[in-house]
Amino acid sequence: MELAPENYLVIAMFVSFIALLFTGFPVAWVLAGVGITFAGIAWWTDDMGWTMTGLDYNTLGLLVGRIFGIMDNWVLIALPMFIFMGLMLEKSGVAERMMHSMQKLFGNVRGGLAVTVALIGIILAASTGIIGASVVLLGLMSVPVMLNQNYDKSLALGTVAASGCLGILIPPSIMLVIMGDQLAVPILDLFMGAVFPGLILGALYIAYIVVYCKINPDKAPLAKDHGEIDLKTVLQALVDILPPAGLILLVLGSIFMGISTVTEASGIGALGATLIAVIFRRFNWKVLKDVVINTMNTAAYIFAIFVGATIFALVLRESGGDELIESALTGLGFGPNGLIIFVLVVVFFLGFFLDWIEISLIILPLLAPVISALNLQINGFGVVEFPNLTWFALLVAVTLQTSFLTPPVGFALFYLKGVCPPEVKLTDIYRGVVPFIILQLIALILVFIFPELVTWLPAVAYGNI
């Protein structure tokens, strides 16, 4: 492929972005700074007659309108509301209650504690979508208990890291909100499409834990004080699962049945989580203040990457980066399926050092036109509006699950390390997550081979089956 002079600018832009990330300066400002700097460089090389990008100072004036475009966005209202809901629910103590009663329920099962963690991960996943918060909560709550019970370190840490990440996939998930916004695909479809991939992952985790503990009973000893399971234990577990499960059913149910929009459901979810905190007597002025401030702070550092990515993407587009990537991808000579596999492999490796936010905000919009143009023949049952993009988004979403766990930069690993007792080494965590990464790849292959896993539920909801 013949490279135009502008293409070197685009390549240099990507390379400097990646290189500067490793200085540890905030990702959002690296994006913004690299964008602005390369706008200046392109202006200068235009001036010298080497390139023809048309970039100059006034081009940057478009940025303010773009930033206003992210503010004036009906869809993204759900972002702070889902964060609020998740943080409030985690503050409400439902997780500890579930942990306490389910621990008893699975007391006689080898690996019961790890299964409990995975189950709570799945239930919390449906309520939050802030990976950091889930991993931190599960880590604080269960790692000391598991280590006390002489669980194998790797098993304990792997379970916590993997289960804590489910939140970003199982709806309502803020990642799917952002992907829907970027790809212009209905968020409803993405939410419904994510249900089966998410549940499959959760089921794989639990199956793996049970089988592993059967084979290696010494890695997961039973608690010393485990007793018989009676009706009271079962009822207590049900009572403790009920509030978060009810809230999830309310939020997801009203979205899926078309009663409310995602935005409305997110607001109701936030208030519902507050109500649960009130019922459990955990609600007070300080809790509310903590949640309000942390919601603002969390939403802001996600939003910062929106702002940075907007600046980066504008300059990239003006320098012809979009066409470069499009022609590079189509010029590879892969068939439609080959191209999808190639893209997923790239996303998998990008996940080694980029976060889901950057991948959803920078990489996905670049890929969307290429993927839409592919002749994929995904079965949308005639009612799913964008079956190709919906399926593709979910493939990326499942691939991104690995990005939280893959060293060196897996975000879950760092969150978990941050809250673990000091004797836990990062290498213990690395070792623990390996089997879970393999399980995630299995789930990814399943979704790839059976696109109906994604499209079937929306089709049912739209009433065409």
């Binding site: 990330l21 200085t23 540890g24 300066f25 990702v27 959002a28 400002w29 690296v30 913004a32 700074g33 964008g35 602005i36 940057l60 303010v64 206003f68 503010m71 004036d72 993204l76 209202i77 972002l79 702070p80 509301m81 609020f84 985690e90 503050k91 103590g93 500890e96 306490h100 950091g132 918060a133 931190v136 604080l140 709550m141 000391p144 006390n148 409305e264 109701i268 936030a270 955990r282 949640v291 309000v292 919601t295 603002m296 702070n297 802001a300 550092y301 939003f303 910062a304 990457i305 050092f353 976060d355 936010i357 060196p408 930069v409 760092f414 969150y415 941050g418 809250v419 673990c420 007792p421």
Partner: protein, 218 residues
Amino acid sequence: MSKAVSAETHHIPIVTFLNGIVQRVVGAVAWINVLLAVLILITVILRYGFHRNGLFLEWPLVPMEELMWHFYSVPVMFGLAYSITTDTHIRIDILRTHMSNRLKHIFEILGLVLLLMPCLVILLDFSFDYAVYAYTHNESSQSTMGLPHRWIVKSVIPLSILLMMIASMARLIGEIVLLMHLGKEPDDDDIPPRIRMTARLLRPLLIVEDNSHEKGVD
């Protein structure tokens, strides 16, 4: 665990003062998120409780839905500055945790001066004009029943950028002071502030409820 290396904890008066301004302003603005949840509830009640009078409700619903994105965007924009003061913006920590304090400070200073601050200056320049234009042209919502005075929400952009300038100036001063006083600072515990923030939020719960187990942290 030991103290963190953040300018905040070293009580450099000017840094504490500047961060204080930002945190007080944004801390107050953050409560708009609660208003947003309540506003959504009211909209839902109006829409589904009184849906038969659809036409009549057109009037309160349109401005309320516009108010929703106002309420979402304001705390989030102002929060950008707050996250600078708490040092919770997402970083790639892998190499940073192994860097010497000296190198960390140098990279931080270079990043602030070469990457962040130029953007803020340029964005302030354009966004100020953007807000002034909305005011002088009396911009309002495109919907006839929508909200007037679009300049109010548009001026949120230059205001939040001003706050970001204050916050990044405070960080810059803090980093320079720390660089000049290398070795006199408390040990780094290697836990990025973003993670410490979440852990702090979720930790107290356990002490209340979980008496039967040993605490892993602290």
